[in-house]
Symmetry: C2
Subunit: 472 residues, 2 copies
């Protein structure tokens, strides 16, 4: 019997499939103010796992968490010219507070360089205070005319790191450490999403940065999603806010800075990089429910057996949910857990129990195998490990299969209809080639060396390749 | 040699002492927009520990975390009459977004009943959906004319729980469960701060609540600080937002609700409930650094010994910092760690090492005892446990010593100059007695039964006592 179709198939309408999944798996809904979102408990539990994993990596890099105000004086915002130019069209402005018109309107932070730098200027005095490595978990606001849940929103949640260094080289090294050791490691090892790392073009870089480094991933419709960016800010903000230090000889110098962020956009990535026509497929390391134990019925010992299995798996350290909702139809329960992407499902029924077994179903491969009762703990542990690596392998294969070398702008546009194109930098003919691509809705996601490795900060376009795609 | 005085003594000027501690222990600073704050890394690390402990209790109560938008349409806010009346004077209003004047201004959330209830109305259909137990960790904004760091701010961080129930009794039970099992347990067991639990008077209750339950603590200047409140909302918001459910017989009914919050105000409580003239005294369970290992010098094996001790303590699961900053004066290092309130300090110097020992100093009692090298792990574990309970005992004693039974409004005002007064409810002569106290800067913090236990929701004032105090 074919399962009822709960989602628009990906092939029919990928954006509609995405909306369907978010709604039916109860991940998120749109909020009442345009572009805002409500993250529902199941979605928020995924985000909490992501936060914990990123936070551990952020702390391991020597960064300390802090919290800076939501409201920034408009005047702060105007101090760095490129920055204000980039963000002005997206700002939300508070003009009234406590029943009165404010003397100076305040900006609701779209990002926090300006306010954090004002404090770094106070805290950094000597070379001994450097590097100063800070991060905050916060909400930010960027007024969005074409919002999409998790991908582009008026308000989103993120972490934003802000650092100050004594030398350009140290800032450079740290920006790349963030890209590699925090972002790429988390995305590959936990989210099971392979990432294309590279440098942004001048057109695509962050407003106020000298260099932007990026991690890009491919969604299952062939489009790119920017997963996280790490910026070298040079000395522009340091100059605007007066972040200076005295070196060992007592000379005053401006700091070199970085900033870097990853957001609830990663929720969208997780959905679109692994999901299929049945719904989410969550990598076990980020799944709020790793194993669901379904009692086929509660009589005849199946209820007790299911509860015992769930308890044993919990003690083994897995995140387990016991589902005894036998008042719902079996099909609806199975479809529901497939939709929510629980990596392993154990079906516990009287007939199998009589034969001393249960059925283990893997969401990633849709495989179903009988498992002897004495082997459940071991087989579940193995299934979770295998599911984690299988999803990564599958996503890697998808990325490879949908990436092609191209030799001209026309071929690049063509390749971007189904995936990524890799174009020799020399074929771009500089900024005008990029502009041509942009007009066709195609952007340069990342510049890399020809072997796929990261280029230097100033390495010339003619020695590099450009990864081009349509993007979210 | 007397230690240099780094802080204004508490007895000289308690509010100035508080400001000094926040600045010198690097907990927080005021932000550029009036009433906003910057939480510095050491302070934020304390908040992260508090969050983790509260969050575990919130989840253990069956509540699920979610996230709702920062921006709330002004029209939502107007739907519950008492609520809008209570919060209107404190609202921050966004009038411009994306470079344009908004058609409908939006409110920056001061609390989230209105937006959360709009979604509960969609999600609650049947009795099977109840109770619906949600919480969010978020920033909120209440325009504040007389801000004080952590205590009253234009922006602060908090958790806000919002629940919907089928019956008034279930909502009542849950509001008290929050008060007892989440708030009081966390405050006593982790923060080592004893709390006075009770019901708020009508005057003091939350705007829109039928009953507010509170946990109040005494600071070391005898003033009260409201630590957390749990509100029964009756059916007012449910009616305003249409949160109805069909019961087992298919009849439609309005839900009964609760909401409850605790905020970064608890940071202020932690400082003022335990701190002394040398600075913070942190309970080990919430201290970012539980043990600091100070190498007196790095030569003669003291540096290696200190590092070894620190590593061993880390492996034992403690939060440890190794301090080898021998370029700073010894006095400055010791004073610095006293200021930051690290519960246990180990002084590791060549002379003691030669005798096979180190010195263990406890911050709570200022005790210093030699400890044999082989006993360090065991003695540190014991010292941390003892420090945790000693701080609670001391705070309990302080609360008892500064609480007195009073027989009239005059005596109540008098008692409130140095602590809490406990006044028979009958002596209040209803609302007019409360108004008289309020004019003298004294408020009723909590109504209790005469034996100190929680009163019923509707228990009459004449059967109760009122705990009165000056308050933050």
């Amino acid at each position: 019997m074919p399962k009822p179709e709960v989602l628009t198939p990906q092939a029919a309408d990928f954006p509609q499939w995405y909306q369907d999944v978010l709604a039916k798996a109860e991940l998120a809904e749109t909020g009442p103010v345009r572009g805002t979102m409500v993250i529902r408990p199941y979605g928020y539990a995924m985000w909490e796992k992501m936060q914990a994993e990123m936070d551990a990596r952020i702390k391991a890099a020597g960064v300390r968490n802090a919290y800076f105000p939501l409201f920034i004086p408009e005047s702060y915002f105007r101090r760095e010219a490129e920055h204000v130019e980039g963000f002005s069209p997206e700002l939300a402005i508070v003009t009234h507070g406590g029943g009165k018109k404010l003397e100076e309107p305040v900006v609701v932070r779209p990002t926090s360089e300006t306010v954090i730098d004002a404090f770094m200027a106070k805290w950094v005095q000597s070379y001994r205070d450097l590097p100063l490595l800070l991060n905050q978990w916060a909400n930010v606001v960027r007024w969005e005319m074409r919002p999409r849940l998790f991908l582009r929103g008026t308000e989103f949640l993120w972490q934003e790191g802000h650092t100050a260094h004594a030398t350009e080289q140290d800032a450079h090294r740290f920006a790349l450490k963030v890209l590699n050791d925090i972002y790429a490691d988390f995305m590959v090892e936990i989210l099971a999403i392979p990432v294309v790392l590279g440098r942004k073009t001048q057109r695509e870089r962050f407003a106020g940065a000298t260099t932007t480094w990026t991690a890009e991933a491919m969604m299952r419709d062939g489009k790119a999603l920017q997963m996280g960016t790490s910026h070298e800010l040079g000395q522009g903000f340091a100059k605007a806010f007066g972040i200076t230090f005295s070196d060992e000889e007592g000379r005053q110098s401006l700091c070199w800075q970085t900033s870097w962020g990853a957001s609830t956009r990663l929720m969208g990535a997780l959905v679109m990089a692994h999901g299929d026509d049945q719904g989410l497929r969550l990598p076990p390391r980020v799944a709020p429910v790793q194993v669901v134990v379904l009692a086929v019925r509660t009589q005849d010992g199946a209820g007790e057996a299911a509860a015992g299995i769930a308890e044993s798996l919990r003690r083994a350290g897995h995140r387990v949910e016991l589902d005894t909702r036998t008042d719902l139809s079996w099909g609806r329960r199975v479809v529901g857990w497939e939709l929510r992407g629980a990596p392993v499902r154990l079906e516990v029924g009287p007939r199998d129990l009589a034969e001393g077994k249960v059925v283990l179903c893997r969401r990633d491969s849709n495989s179903k195998v009988p498992v002897a009762l004495g082997q459940v703990d071991a087989e579940v542990a193995r299934a979770l490990e295998e599911a984690q690596s299988a999803l990564l392998s599958e996503a890697r294969r998808y990325l490879e299969d949908h990436t092609s070398s191209v030799a001209s702008l026309e071929e690049a546009e063509e390749a971007a209809q189904t995936g990524f194109g890799v174009l020799a930098g020399s074929a771009l003919a500089g900024d005008s080639g990029e502009a041509t691509l942009n007009e066709a809705g195609v952007t340069i996601r990342a510049l890399q060396r020809k072997d796929g490795s990261l280029p230097g900060t100033y390495e010339d376009l003619s020695d590099l390749v450009a990864v081009v795609a349509r993007a979210y």
